[in-house]
Amino acid sequence: MNEERRKILDMLAQGKITVDEAEKLLSAIGEPAPDAGNGAAAGPRSWKYLRVQVEPGPSSEKGDKVNIRVPFKLIRAGLKFAAFIPQNAQGQVREALKEKGLDVDLSKITPQDLEDLVSNLDDLTVDVDGRDKVRIFCE
């Protein structure tokens, strides 16, 4: 990631600019738009693992620490097991997700959707600074 792109994304993360403004700035500096077709395995940045790190912040009471590294291939293989969820259980899962504000119908998710989802995880970087510091990224 070059310096200009990083600055723009930092400003977006800090709320100094909107998503539309960030998009305009990125296109102004000639950054190519993310392409859904370029999967993790196909692109030059072939990430191997999804990392989740939780580190205690200054105000953390318990000092909980989590470090998880999951191979992308395992995620892909594991997601295929979703097809084994029985129909009646899918209804219950949908209800539970709806209660949490997520209206997702698992029966309509195709293997291609799952593949697209995992393929695009390589662009994911989440940093949350609160009581604990949470980082989700690919490596």
Partner: protein, 91 residues
Amino acid sequence: MLPVIVHFRVRKPGRRPFGFYFPILLVWIVLAALLVLLFPFLLLAAVLTWRRGPGRMLLVIYPLLAAVLWNMSGLHIEAGNAGNGVLIDFT
């Protein structure tokens, strides 16, 4: 790649950390033997439930299971706080 060794480590307050390397390859060998033994029953279940739907799904269980196990290498799970902690690392 199929993981052959798994590293476990447990930490509890007031005790020395306890950890060991387990040759999980032995588990895979036992599991493989079990799956071979169960295969005729799985085929039978697949044939019996073919018309209602699950039969076809049963036939892909083995390849899917193999895919999951084969790609577990590199899985690293570590959680803890100041006192307690646990680590599971497949290599």
